[in-house]
């Protein structure tokens, strides 16, 4: 088995660990969302939904901060992964890619290495945001037994890996295909905005207009956030004036959707890297 991907992974992680400012800034954004948006919205949700509906007795009622911590985790992974694709673009721009592709290492190893480093970064960020959400009063894993917390954490890690892998394949593909830094920036911005807002990150997707709801159905971010809520809050809860019944079926459909997303992106990205000519 070729182990060239370990070299790529090792290099990415060295550079990541060294860029302390980058680590700080990449964590600052989600924290700012939680602090500014989370806290100010938390003080308003009661006002919005006073008397609109009543929490069903079998559902746990959770605060808005609890609700959007999951959304912010999804958003952070989305942003981190999509912008990571630019690393390959820089490798191409500075000619480093040429030094790699004249080696006998299969090109797919480049893809695997960068994807694994992207996943690692996302897992670190997810952990930190979860802790921070907790500090800000999000009721995560509330009322869980220790064994439940452990299985939930494992589930959270597995789904995060699946989601960030799909995103890393997608962003690497863009990084390899687009040679202009400004253009790829614009593409990323164009992708992140609709993916973020046509999802259940900040509000329930069920209340979205029809076309946005359709977008939500093919949006991997929405499926991922569902799974995060399943693991951190529970299968049946009430927030933002709405009763969420994700259940095991919801978790399973998230798994299938994210699996298909990762697989399709993997196949496409392998195709792109094998056929690219202008290193």
């Amino acid at each position: 088995m070729p182990l060239g991907f370990t070299a790529i992974y090792w290099r990415d992680m060295i550079k990541f660990a060294r860029s302390k400012a980058m680590i700080f800034l990449s964590l600052l954004q989600p924290v700012l969302w939680l602090v500014f948006y989370g806290i100010s919205m938390s003080n308003n949700t009661g006002l919005f939904f006073a008397g609109t509906s009543v929490a069903p007795p079998d559902a746990i009622t959770v605060s808005y901060m609890t609700f959007i911590t999951s959304g912010v985790i999804g958003m952070t992974i989305l942003f981190t992964c999509l912008y990571s694709g630019q690393n390959l673009q820089f490798d191409k721009q500075y000619g480093l890619m040429k030094t790699i592709v004249v080696s006998p290492m299969p090109r797919s190893q480049i893809l695997i290495g960068t994807t694994l480093s992207g996943i690692t970064k996302c897992l670190i960020q997810t952990t930190i945001i979860t802790l921070f959400g907790y500090i800000l009063g999000a009721q995560l894993f509330a009322g869980f037994l220790l064994s439940n917390i452990i299985t939930s954490a494992i589930g959270l890690i597995l789904f995060s890996i699946l989601f960030s892998a799909g995103l890393m394949f997608l962003s690497n593909m863009i990084g390899l295909k687009v040679n202009n830094h400004d253009v790829s920036q614009a593409i990323m911005a164009l992708l992140t905005l609709p993916l973020f807002f046509a999802s259940n990150a900040l509000y329930p997707a069920e209340t979205l207009p029809f076309t946005m709801k359709l977008l939500c159905y093919v949006n991997p971010l929405a499926y991922f956030i569902d799974s995060v809520r399943y693991f951190t809050i529970g299968p049946n809860f009430y927030a933002f004036g709405f009763n969420y019944q994700i259940g095991l079926e919801g978790l399973l459909s998230s798994f299938i959707a994210l699996g298909i997303f990762a697989l399709v992106m993997f196949v496409l990205a392998i195709f792109v890297i094998k056929n690219i000519r202008d290193f």
Binding site: L3, A7, R11, I14, L96, V102, M105
Partner: protein, 316 residues
């Protein structure tokens, strides 16, 4: 004759309608330093990119160490080391990390890898700088790191695309010292492109002149110079101005050039004897102060084959 380690037959390459390489044939013998000499845009980099499997071969055939490049690029990649024209290094890694990274990419086992890196850093005199960041190195040091990187896997052929471009004289000499050393001690065949005449002349066993995608001449430096065969007289007289007018009319002389030290007489063939030269001047009461017979330089060879000086096209 030794075996050819690189064999190129009928190689052509074009970008759209622009023909970069036009039906070239050449071979490189094992253990040699082979210079591919030509002005910018002559097709040097295209040829090197075809040799190192970066470009897909459109027409013709290349074998390196007996392996067909088009059919088995991965096997070729195991046999070659490459140093590219511009610095291609990760600024944010140290020297050691850069070499470790490439050793890992080539799946060198840990012990072999570390031993080899230490060995190569000693050759290029960077052993004490192993933890320095690439971004803090001089151009010459960066080049040395790249040469070490190219040699990590004990390649059979080391390709160097303009290895000394942009370096000062001292750094150039040092780089050449390393190249010669590894050529001699590790028996690595060196294939390099350059537009520095003096370097090609001084260091390579074999020179191939390429211009406008075509091979103009091929051979050792001395054989190339002998082949054009025309000598040059360098003279100093009591009246250079008058002398140049008189000598320009001699049938054996193709043209006369004046420089600060006297006159350069380019001969059409080598049949003008010194005595005849002296005689034709003394008739006009001009005394000869100095007379030197110059052998042609590689510059002259280049002008002979391409009709122009290499330097005039360097920055074009």
């Amino acid at each position: 004759m030794k075996d050819a380690i690189i064999n190129v037959e009928g190689l052509s390459h074009s970008y759209g309608k622009t023909v970069a390489v036009d039906n070239i044939y050449f071979h490189v013998e094992e253990g040699q330093i082979f210079s591919f000499l030509g002005p910018n845009g002559a097709g040097k980099t295209t040829t090197i990119n075809l040799l190192i499997t970066l470009l897909r071969i459109q027409k013709g055939q290349i074998t390196i160490s007996g392996v067909n490049v088009a059919k088995n690029p991965d096997a070729v990649r195991r046999n070659i080391g490459v140093v590219f024209q511009d610095h291609r290094l990760d600024r944010d890694l140290t020297i050691w990390e850069t070499l470790e990274f490439h050793g890992k990419i080539h799946s060198l086992p840990k012990e072999t890898r570390r031993q080899r890196i230490t060995e190569l850093l000693n050759i290029v005199e960077l052993g004490d700088k192993r933890n320095a960041f690439i971004k803090n190195l001089s151009g010459g040091m960066k080049r040395s790191v790249e040469i070490a990187r190219g040699l990590l896997v004990h390649p059979k052929v080391l390709f160097l695309d303009e290895p000394t471009i942009g370096l000062d004289t001292k750094a150039r000499q040092r780089i050449w010292h390393y190249i010669k050393q590894i050529n001699r001690e590790e028996n690595v065949t060196v294939f390099l492109t350059t537009h520095y005449m003096d370097e090609a002349d001084q260091y390579s066993h074999e020179i191939c002149i390429i211009d406008k995608g075509k091979i103009m001449a091929n051979g050792s430096s001395s054989s190339l110079k002998n082949a054009i065969g025309k000598d040059i007289y360098h003279i100093k007289t009591t009246d250079d101005l008058k002398a140049s007018q008189i000598l320009a009319n001699l049938p054996e002389i193709s043209h006369v050039e004046k420089n600060s030290n006297g006159l350069l007489l380019y001969l059409k063939n080598n049949e003008l004897s010194a005595s005849k030269l002296v005689k034709s001047l003394t008739i006009h009461q001009i005394k000869l102060g100095n007379l030197n017979l110059l052998k042609p330089t590689l510059d002259d060879v280049f002008i002979y084959y391409t009709g122009r000086k290499i330097d005039s096209t360097v920055d074009a």
